[in-house]
């Protein structure tokens, strides 16, 4: 076993023992279930009404219109997942990323690890790959719940293309959550105090989720937590034209919601992405940048410090 594999396994085992992590993961799972239930409930209700209406139309010899559920993309019934992943999913990733390094520092074992025959790069690899697996577990959990919901609805029929888009959506969610987890690893590795280590990624997340969309497109915080209203076009004004052009390429949350809506089939017709940079490129650049930040944090980590007073 390589040192990074040992560190990865150890980090995942330590995560599994942490109550905070279990709580956050349970909360994420609960919200994913709620999201799926809302989609299932709404669709089932429409299906039931449609069935009753169909009987009435047939009894009166009138033509039966098509089921409205089958008009749009079947994946759109899971649209609330986009919001839950960008809120509780990203925050879960922050907590997991933060604990990756902080667990070792608080335990006071960094000097014992630093004096072992491994490179700092091994340490970084171990922690980042553990984060990738932990966040992958969250994304997979959401994926299983989403897929099960779609599978049990009688009026929803998914083709191979739909399943592929659903898989792409959860991969996108994984990438989005990873970005914040990586920022948390980098911040906790570089911060001089536990508080700052958690506060930095949290502030970045709050700014990207609520402040940036308000600046680029007048998407107020209440609108930002709704999958549909978060996709409104920017007001026609010079200020928003300018802010969308300048800040749009850095609006990670909007890029994610735009791509999510595109994949799930509920993107409003003709809505352009915010700024000139394609949303996927924005997400890739953020992921790469946060990866470098986490790597640099681990490579520069002060291995002499440890313990709660470090």
């Amino acid at each position: 076993m390589t040192p990074s594999t040992i560190l990865r396994r150890h980090a995942l085992a330590a995560l599994a023992r942490e109550r905070t992590i279990a709580l956050v993961a349970a909360l994420f799972a609960a919200l994913v279930l709620v999201s799926a239930y809302l989609g299932w409930s709404a669709t089932s209700t429409v299906d039931a009404i449609y069935a009753s209406a169909t009987h009435w139309f047939e009894a009166n010899g009138k033509p039966v219109p098509s089921n409205p559920v089958t008009q749009g993309s079947p994946l759109a019934l899971l649209r609330n997942l986009t919001i839950y992943i960008s809120l509780i999913g990203a925050f879960s990733a922050i907590v997991i990323g933060y604990r990756m390094v902080e667990t070792d520092r608080r335990a006071g074992v960094l000097p014992l690890i630093g004096a072992r025959p491994l490179e700092r790069l091994d340490y970084a690899r171990g922690k980042v790959s553990a984060l990738a697996l932990a966040v992958g577990g969250l994304a997979a959990l959401a994926g299983v719940v989403g897929a099960a919901t779609l599978a049990i609805l009688p009026s929803v029929h998914l083709g191979p293309g739909d399943w592929a888009r659903l898989a792409a959506f959860f991969s996108l969610g994984w990438l989005y959550m990873m970005t914040f987890g990586l920022i948390a690893i980098g911040a906790s590795a570089r911060a001089r105090s536990e508080t700052v280590g958690l506060m930095v990624p949290t502030v970045v997340w709050l700014v990207l989720t609520f402040v940036w969309p308000a600046l680029t497109g007048n998407i107020l915080p209440t609108a930002a937590i709704n999958p549909i209203s978060a996709l409104a076009p920017a007001p026609q004004s010079t200020i928003f034209d300018l802010s969308a052009m300048l800040l749009g390429p850095f609006s990670l949350a909007e890029a994610y919601k735009y791509l999510g809506a595109e994949l799930m089939g509920y993107l409003p017709d003709g809505l352009p992405p915010r700024g000139a940079v394609p949303p996927l490129v924005v997400m890739m650049l953020f992921a790469a940048g946060s990866g470098l930040y986490a790597l640099r944090g681990c490579l520069k980590l002060d291995m002499t410090k440890g313990g709660p007073d470090a």
């Binding site: 040192p3 023992r17 335990a107 000097p111 014992l112 004096a115 072992r116 291995m303 313990g307």
Partner: protein, 248 residues
């Protein structure tokens, strides 16, 4: 790896932060199989020296080798050859003794990690603690588990930073016996300490550091022949170490 080279050798090893020099150019040779006692006041630079020699910190200048491995160019081999017990050692509180030791043994990349962990626990008399979580341990118990992680990979040179700090007299005695047994197996021991009595009883050579500068280095036989008693050793220490302390 050469066996005729000193266990620890430094030439002009130094560490500076801006205008402050934490460690003046240090020239030191410690032979293989020695127990070296490193004395000095608080903030003298003893811990800094150990951190440099265990690769936890980068020196500002000079060269050093441990167990024949160059500090600058052969860090992984050097780390494989050393064991390190920091002052106030801490371990994963939520893990048991056995889990902690297996983790550090695996990181040290030894092949017989599981067997070796059992062997070390037996050697240190902590087998009864194997399945208990570290969080419930006293200082002395933690110190023994800390020592176990430091020797689990059979290092050639063992660095101990104030190993007797916070231990009761029985704990100090047990530690001394363990160190003598390890030394009897050929392990070189580099020990930072405040306790002159421990140096007089256990060490084969001593060095005294004052304000980042090595002010005395000789074998314990020479010291004993010259000064004759523990009181005289204390006189020697006080004569080479100024009475003021510096910040750590």
């Amino acid at each position: 790896m050469q066996t005729d080279t000193p266990a620890v050798s430094t030439r002009g090893l130094t560490l500076s932060y801006g205008d402050f020099t934490a460690l003046q150019p240090l020239d030191l040779d410690i032979g293989r199989g020695e127990i070296f006692g490193f004395l000095g006041h608080n903030g003298a630079g003893k811990t800094t020296t150990i951190r440099l020699l265990t690769t936890l910190m980068e020196p500002s200048g000079g060269t050093a080798s441990v167990a024949g491995c160059d500090l600058a160019h052969n860090r992984i081999a050097l780390r494989r050859a050393i064991g390190y017990l920091p002052e106030n050692v801490r371990l994963y509180d939520t893990l048991t003794t056995r889990e902690n030791l297996r983790f550090f043994a695996a990181l040290s990349r030894i092949e017989d990690a599981r067997d070796r962990v059992e062997e070390v626990m037996e050697f240190l008399g902590i087998t009864d603690l194997a399945d208990r979580r570290i969080a419930t341990f006293s200082k002395g118990m933690r110190q023994r588990v800390g020592l176990a992680q430091a020797i689990v990979h059979r290092p050639q040179v063992l660095f101990l930073d104030e190993p007797t700090s916070g231990l009761d007299p029985m704990g100090v005695r047990q530690l001394r016996e363990v160190l003598e047994r390890l030394n009897g197996q050929g392990m070189t021991i580099f020990m930072n300490t405040h306790l002159l009595s421990e140096v007089a009883r256990s060490c084969s050579s001593i060095g005294v550091l004052s304000h980042g500068q090595l002010v005395f280095h000789d074998t314990i036989e020479t010291v004993n022949a010259r000064y004759g008693s523990e009181e005289a050793l204390e006189e020697l220490y006080l004569s080479v170490v100024p009475d003021r302390e510096v910040a750590a």
